[in-house]
């Protein structure tokens, strides 16, 4: 594997973890989140801060995951208070608040971010494989959830919360669990990212990134694990396949979002599913 391929594989792996984790929140449990990139950022910043203090990789990853998950549960608590249609704006706002905070903190590097992050202690190819292993684990975990009673319960919560309550489902708890798991995994992606990039900037985790992640979920088919897998791989490779496409990347994302939602709201997975 050449260095270029290794780098490509790493990016795909990280994007997979991001998209699959958002899929748990939005696709499985039906909670719209427009601030997912902020948790990616939280994990990255936590890991980077500790890495520069000398902490080893397993510790930084764990810390990034835990930090993102903890704040994620707090955000989940806000989701319980807010009307369903307002959740999108609230999660978007949380993204802006978290990022706005980080941008102003000198000890986190402010606008210039954190640079000089140490390497992972593995060569590029081995590290890429580590990322792939994590992505595979998240994929397997997503499938597990989907096939378990948790997936069944999430489906009910996404369909009709009040009806779910009348069959004994503690809707609040399940929403919090979805947020906790999804955001924690986004934090893991952040922790993995820092060793790959060696430098992190606040702009990497902004609203546009949240939308990019959402695009991967939506186009794959919100809720469909394999659909999200496919769309993430394709959308990540797109700018690589065509240099020209790179400048039009956002335009293509936007156009795809519109077209897919207009003609097949169930995404790619929806196209393949037989009609109910």
């Amino acid at each position: 594997m050449s260095a270029y391929i290794a780098s490509l594989v790493s990016v795909i792996g990280i994007n997979l973890i991001l998209a699959l984790s958002l899929n748990i929140i939005t696709g499985f449990c039906g909670q719209v989140s427009l601030g997912h990139a902020a948790f990616y950022g939280l994990g990255a910043y936590m890991a980077a801060y500790l890495a520069k203090l000398g902490a080893p990789l397993p510790v930084t990853l764990l810390a990034g995951t835990a930090m993102a998950g903890a704040i994620g549960i707090v955000v989940g608590l806000t989701s319980l208070r807010v009307r369903h249609d307002f959740l999108a704006v609230t999660t978007m706002g949380i993204g802006f608040v978290l990022l706005g905070f980080v941008r102003k903190q000198k000890w986190l590097g402010g606008e210039l971010g954190i640079s000089g992050i140490p390497g992972p202690g593995l060569d590029a190819v081995s590290y890429a494989l580590l990322i792939v292993a994590f992505a595979a684990a998240v994929l397997a975990f997503s499938l597990w959830i989907k096939q378990s009673w948790m997936g069944f319960t999430f489906d009910a919560v996404a369909d009709d919360e009040d009806a779910a309550r009348t069959v004994g489902v503690n809707v609040s708890t399940y929403k919090l669990v979805a947020f906790g798991i999804g955001t924690a995994l986004a934090g893991t992606a952040g922790g993995l990212y820092i060793y790959f990039a060696r430098i992190i900037l606040p702009d990497t985790f902004d609203f546009v990134q949240s939308i990019a992640i959402l695009t991967m979920v939506v186009i794959g088919g919100t809720g469909s694990v394999w659909g999200v897998f496919a769309s993430t791989v394709v959308l990540t490779l797109l700018p690589e396949v065509s240099r020209a496409a790179a400048d039009y990347r956002l335009l293509i994302f936007g156009a795809m979002l519109m077209l897919v939602m207009r003609f097949s709201p169930g995404g790619l997975a929806g196209l393949l599913r037989k009609p109910a």
Partner: protein, 248 residues
């Protein structure tokens, strides 16, 4: 306490209007109790407070010797309370049998940990199928609730509640919107359930069927209980007839 449930002095207001103004009654074990009254008397409001969907401003709800007033709806379900909505709410993205399966598997949805560690849906499917057969919905198992006519959707709503193995079943206008033949069938079904030992409280407008199947009536008027007792005794009272029809 011998009664299964005790509703004690419930008060609730919406925007200054008292929908419940001191509702008190008991529910005896295994009985089929009907809450009746004119429109706006507060019947559905009272039922929703017993179910835990609506929080009272004042008063208590006791169930099986426990004060459940502060418990949310889903927790009351776990203690043995089933509820059906006036306007049916099946999970439209599930099939008919899946609707009942989720309820049948209530042990597995009790906590996220239990849920994530349980995979097999076999037992729930078998239990759900049996219930659907009892309710005459066996042939509809794989169909979407969207494809079912109202009468069957209402039966599905009750079937789903039964899958929770409830001690007390709260039914909000189960006969509303049904033709007279369907209403009779449904009323008979409810009577059968009651005969099997489940305590049933229903809110209903369809007096004909109610008088036929209920053991006891509680009449609400302007948010208060105005009369209770055996159907024939209650309906013979002048004040009850006046409240209903405005004529003595």
């Amino acid at each position: 306490m011998n009664a299964l449930a005790e509703i004690d002095d419930l008060h609730v207001s919406f925007g200054g209007v008292a929908a419940a103004n001191g509702v008190s009654f008991t529910v005896e074990r295994s009985e089929l109790l009907a809450l009746i009254g004119a429109n706006g008397a507060g019947k559905t409001t009272a039922l929703r407070m017993v179910a835990g969907i609506l929080r009272p401003d004042r008063g208590r709800v006791l169930f099986d010797d426990r004060d459940v007033t502060a418990l949310p709806a889903h927790a009351r379900v776990r203690l043995g309370l089933g509820f059906t909505h006036q306007i049916v709410r099946p999970f439209y993205s599930f099939s008919t049998i899946e609707n009942v399966m989720l309820a049948a598997g209530y042990a597995r949805t009790a906590s996220p940990w239990k849920a994530i560690t349980s995979r097999s849906r076999m037992a729930a499917r078998d239990k759900a199928r049996a219930i659907l057969e009892r309710f005459g919905l066996g042939a509809q198992a794989e169909r979407s609730p969207r494809a079912l006519p109202l009468g069957q959707r209402k039966r599905l709503e009750v079937a789903r509640a039964i899958a929770l193995d409830p001690k007390l079943l709260l039914l909000d206008e189960p006969l509303a919107g049904l033709s007279s033949a369907e209403a009779t069938t449904m009323a008979d079904l409810i009577r059968t359930l009651s005969g099997q030992g489940i305590t049933v409280v229903l809110v209903e407008h369809n007096l004909g069927e109610v008088l036929r199947v209920a053991d006891r009536l509680v009449v609400l008027d302007a948010g208060k209980v105005m009369a209770q007792g055996a159907p024939s005794d209650v309906m013979a009272r002048d004040d009850v007839r006046q409240a209903y029809t405005g004529v003595v």
